[in-house]
């Protein structure tokens, strides 16, 4: 009975979304206050009913209700409680419910934190989101209801959660990624609302910016978590595989990054308006594309859910209507978007345009490589795959070019920057970066690689220009403290995010060029050297977990005769399904990771294993944390709040004025 309540709650949310998708938008058009005022309560209502739905699904997991087909397929009585709760997003149906619930959460947030915006605008934003969530809920009810029952004979026990998912990463990666992904729907809705109203002014960009920044920050963390999880769980020693399902979040992230930069130009200078709107549409399309690729079963990947063509067609329909409709609206309204000001060929606007062009081209090339096999198959009927070399050949040089501009952009001025000023500011910095870039890899790793030198030059360039920019911005202030205080939160946010990029660049390049790995067969007592380290297999023993059994090897690691650490890689068999799974052992460090993954045990007791030494790999995720922190900080700039307070004041005053006006008229 209780699972039926979950379905019922979904249907109620669907009904509310029909109202939300129509009344407030019509109300905004006809200036009907009552209908516009419905937007916020309706959004809250959808959030509540979807919340009830997802709680009921979680309850079904906790109580082992295997009559619900989704629970039976993704849980088991032996499954630990934390995985029972999170198995809610362990398969297609439940994860789509989570996705939809996330959107409802964002809608609720828009309802709450939109007091500074005109009601008409908020109604349109929530209305657009209402249409979107309507299509999601309809999709769920029509093709993938998580509450479907197995009748008449439910199984006695469930099939178990995929063993690769039974891990801490599974608890946090999907919700974070979804939250970031879905956040771009909000920015999209802002853009559509602006298009609908026909008023594309700086105010629209200012309202969108905090939302875009926060979504971007969460998406950054979501992708980084996925990369970190893949690194330690999948056991292939890498942190990015250009997997067809890793790519759509990256595409969205690249469009999103372009968007937050372009929004800055639109807010500050009133130019790039139509471009910014287009980017908002593209970033959102990237997130829908991600859903489509994972859930249609079109591509082979670790992420792909078992396929069902009807779902693919349904999502393709949503994709077509959403993207086609918004592009049509865009084409109709684009002539309205006129630039307020002009700018010179060397100006911050132009450097940000370069940033945008590079990011969009990168996104497009990743998109092409991801979808090319599908298109190729449709045309020629041959199956092909595009390997990582393609992506590396395209993506790496483009990013290098982008990193050159990261140094120049913040230093330049709006409207017009003289080239001689830039040369004066940056020539010493350039010389210093080249020196550091050549020296650092030699000092730190005592090895030389041309590629590593180039990337270290770029990383030094980014870091030094940040320092130079801050120091020249506070040079004329009375004291250092006064100088630091004079810089805005959004400026600090930007520099922190750029600093994060530099860290990530250092991590990615040093890991790629200086990692060493070795596949070996070791008998107990035998040892092997890798890099500066010596690995000895001490032996292996049997282990028993709550829902698995397995073998655990003990490996001691020495360096120059000193003990470094003990590593305990495992090989598990999950009891419910008989699925084998390897658990890596990692000794994480600021400067290097040591990493062992077990293969199989030979009859004589020897273990096959792969050993890795990966310098600086943590810096990749550390960089992502800085980037996300920077994005959040920028969203918290008091500029957005101060404005809110001022506008409230103004609104109050005009309300009082009009009230007194009415009084006078009445008297």
């Amino acid at each position: 009975m209780i699972p039926e309540l979950g379905s019922f709650s979904l249907i109620l949310a669907l009904c509310l979304s029909v109202l939300l998708g129509t009344l407030p938008i019509i109300g905004a058009h006809t200036n009907n206050q009552i209908w516009m005022n419905l937007a916020r309560p309706l959004a809250a209502g959808i959030f509540v009913f979807l919340g009830i739905s997802i709680s009921i699904l979680a309850y079904a997991f906790v109580t082992d209700d295997f009559s619900v087909s989704f629970v039976a397929l993704h849980s088991n009585t032996l499954l630990p409680m934390r995985y029972k709760l999170t198995a809610v997003w362990g398969g297609h149906e439940g994860s789509f419910l989570l996705w939809t619930f996330m959107l409802a959460g964002w809608m609720l947030a828009v309802g709450i934190y939109s007091k500074s915006m005109p009601l008409e605008f908020v109604s349109r934003v929530l209305g657009v989101l209402g249409i979107l969530i309507f299509s999601y809920i309809l999709f769920m009810l029509a093709t993938s209801n998580p509450f479907d029952r197995i009748v008449p004979l439910p199984p006695a026990d469930g099939a178990d959660l995929n063993s690769a998912l039974q891990d801490f990463g599974f608890i946090i990666h999907p919700p974070t990624l979804y939250m970031g992904y879905v956040g771009f729907s909000v920015v999209f809705a802002f853009a559509i609302a602006a298009l609908l109203s026909g008023r594309m002014d700086a105010a629209w960009a200012r309202w969108s910016r905090p939302w875009a920044n926060v979504s971007w920050a969460i998406l950054t963390i979501g992708i980084a978590l996925g990369s970190w999880w893949a690194y330690y769980e999948l056991g292939w020693g890498g942190w990015w595989a250009w997997d067809p399902v890793e790519n759509p979040p990256l595409i969205t992230w690249l469009f999103g990054t372009a968007l937050i930069h372009s929004l800055a130009v639109t807010e500050k200078r009133g130019v790039f308006k139509s471009w910014t709107v287009l980017l908002a549409i593209l970033a959102f399309s990237g997130s829908l594309l991600g859903t489509f690729i994972t859930r249609s079963g079109l591509l082979t990947s670790v992420h792909a859910f078992a396929s069902d063509p009807s779902r693919g067609f349904f999502i393709l329909g949503i994709l077509g209507i959403a993207i086609g409709g918004s592009l049509l609206l865009y084409a109709l309204r684009a002539p309205l978007m006129k630039a307020d000001f002009g700018f010179d060929l060397t100006s911050r606007e132009l450097f940000l345009l370069a940033n945008n062009v590079i990011l969009v081209v990168s996104a497009a090339s990743v998109f092409l490589g991801t979808l090319f096999p599908m298109v190729y198959q449709a045309i020629t009927d041959d199956l092909i795959s595009i390997g990582p070399p393609y992506f590396n050949t395209i993506f790496v040089p483009l990013m290098m070019l982008l990193f050159v501009f990261i140094g120049i952009g913040p230093m330049s001025r709006w409207k017009r920057t003289s080239i001689s000023y830039l040369v004066a500011q940056l020539s010493k910095v350039l010389a210093a970066s080249i020196g550091l870039g050549i020296l650092l890899p030699l000092i730190v790793l005592m090895e030389f690689s041309l590629a590593a030198t180039v990337t270290m030059i770029l990383a030094s360039w980014i870091l030094l220009t940040i320092g130079k920019d801050i120091s020249s911005k506070i040079a004329n202030k009375r004291s250092l403290a006064a100088g630091f205080k004079s810089l805005s939160l959004s400026y600090y946010g930007m520099q922190l995010a750029h600093f994060g990029i530099a860290l990530m660049l250092v991590g990615a390049s040093l890991t790629s060029y200086f990692s060493v790995e070795r596949g070996v067969l070791l008998s107990p007592g035998e040892s092997v050297d890798l890099g500066a380290y010596n690995f000895t297999l001490e032996g292996s023993s049997r282990i028993e977990g709550p829902n698995y059994v397995g073998e655990e090897a003990e490996i001691t690691v020495m360096r120059d005769g000193d003990m470094v650490t003990d590593l305990h890689p495992e090989r598990r068999i999950y009891v419910a399904t008989g699925t084998p799974s390897t658990e890596m052992a990692i000794d994480a460090g600021f400067l290097r990771d040591l990493f062992v993954t077990l293969g199989e045990q030979k009859p004589d007791g020897a273990w096959s294993m792969t050993i890795y030494v990966k310098p600086f790999i943590r810096w990749i995720w550390l960089g992502a944390i800085f980037m996300a922190f920077g994005g959040t900080l920028a969203a918290g700039d008091k500029r957005y709040r101060r404005l809110r307070a001022r506008q409230l004041e103004k609104a109050k005053r005009s309300a009082i004025l009009s009230a007194s006006g009415e009084l006078q008229a009445a008297s």
């Binding site: 199956l383 390997g387 399904t577």
Partner: protein
């Protein structure tokens, strides 16, 4: 030409140059990195030249896996139940690699007709057959149903 026109032309040229360089690079990289997919039958019929980088999809033939005792080398046979291809791989096999399972191997044929696999891919979801493997079995005319991986084995 008026200044704002000239500026606009500059921007358009800037974008067009960037785009064409990017498209050129992209197409070059694409053309260098396409891995064609073959079925064991196509390989057996000699459609693939030695040394060409390809992917092969199929099932691991039951009883064909031989792993060396003193190294990570492993040999097995990929089959679509009509033709077989011998595969050689040096390294640790994925968790879900088992006899009777669908796999995709990436690498090239050597002159002796043995496929030297640089990468072996097996699916993480047991109930799910990758499109490549399914296509290989369908093309060979073997009923994919009868060889469907059994959940819980």
């Amino acid at each position: 030409m008026r200044p704002h026109r000239r500026k606009r032309l500059g921007i358009i040229l800037f974008i067009a140059t960037g785009l064409s360089v990017a498209i050129g690079l992209t197409l070059y990289a694409l053309s260098q990195n396409i891995d064609l997919f073959y079925t064991p039958t196509q390989v057996a019929q000699g459609e693939v030249a030695a040394g060409q980088r390809i992917r092969i999809g199929g099932m691991v033939r039951e009883g064909s896996v031989v792993s060396a005792d003193d190294s990570l080398a492993v040999e097995f046979v990929a089959t679509d139940y009509v033709h077989d291809v011998p595969i050689f791989h040096e390294g640790i096999l994925p968790d879900l690699f088992r006899e009777g399972q669908g796999i995709v191997v990436e690498g090239s044929l050597d002159t002796a007709g043995v496929f030297q696999a640089s990468r072996v891919l097996a699916k993480h979801d047991e109930n799910y057959m990758s499109p490549e493997v399914k296509a290989a079995l369908d093309a060979a005319g073997a009923s994919s149903e009868s060889h469907q991986m059994q959940p819980g084995t």
